[in-house]
Symmetry: C5
Subunit: 80 residues, 5 copies
């Protein structure tokens, strides 16, 4: 997984049918790159999150054909 | 997923049979790198799009052996 | 696999249900980038570890839908 | 997919049995990095090609255990 | 696949049970980065090898849950 910070939300009206309904968040990773992750947890701007990528992200959805390759799996509490 | 901007289209006549018919778009990502994504949505030059990569991109197609590792899943409306 | 060094641990209380219980370690790779890996071995800070990424990391778990894309598969003894 | 240019061919006599027979081409990508892709199309040096990566590349082969993670899926005609 | 050069071997005594027994080699890629690949071919230091990554690497093993994401599939003879 990778750590990132939520910096915004995207909307997409023109989309393929199998893209699940729900929040698509713009996440800035530690190295400065960005990715767009599906958020099932209701995270807000500035929140530190943990993102899983690849086919295991898609496995979260009922529809096994959900075209989602990045999923927020947790909000980060603290780190020691 | 990653955000990108459509900058052109590719044609490939000499191709393997399992490569699906349809638009193959040249997409420039935020970090300046390029990828070629299958476009089921009819996106045009300059359009901001959301691209899913890896095996979940291939799952979009009827043919489970479609060799497509990048799929445009949506056109981006706006961002806050 | 990639080699890395454990530099800390993360906690996530607000998380999706399918994220397995267990240690999530912050690992610094040789190239300076970081990733967060699930640790089934009880590794400690400073320990050199071997990390497997992608869907094969998720295959470790009983729950085939575990959204884990990075797994510590070993602690490194020595190298020649 | 990614665009690249064929710059040579590799031979490997000492190889695992499940690596399919056929051309293994050295491909230079747009960003200057190289990858080695299986070529079912008979592409030559200097040819611009489209390469698919990951598990969907392996799905091309009869043997579902073919250890191929990069496949030339087309030769690029032109671009607008 | 990617080309690399074997630069050493790793040992891991503290490891998960599903990590296959066999050589884990430190491989330096053309771009200077390193990865650790499972070697079924008995390659030695300095040998030029071809490495496959991701889930197709794991498919090599009898145990479908082998957590191996990088596999040496061949030793490189020569290149033109």
């Amino acid at each position: 997984m990778v750590k990132g910070r939520v910096i915004g939300r995207l909307w997409s009206t023109k989309r393929i049918d199998t893209l699940p309904q729900g929040a698509l968040l713009d996440v800035e990773l530690e190295n400065g790159t960005h990715l767009v992750a599906f958020d099932p947890l209701g995270c807000g701007d500035g929140e530190q999150v943990l993102v899983t990528q690849g086919s295991v992200a898609a496995a979260f959805f009922e529809n096994v054909k959900a075209p989602v390759d990045a999923l927020i799996v947790g909000s980060i509490d603290e780190q020691d």
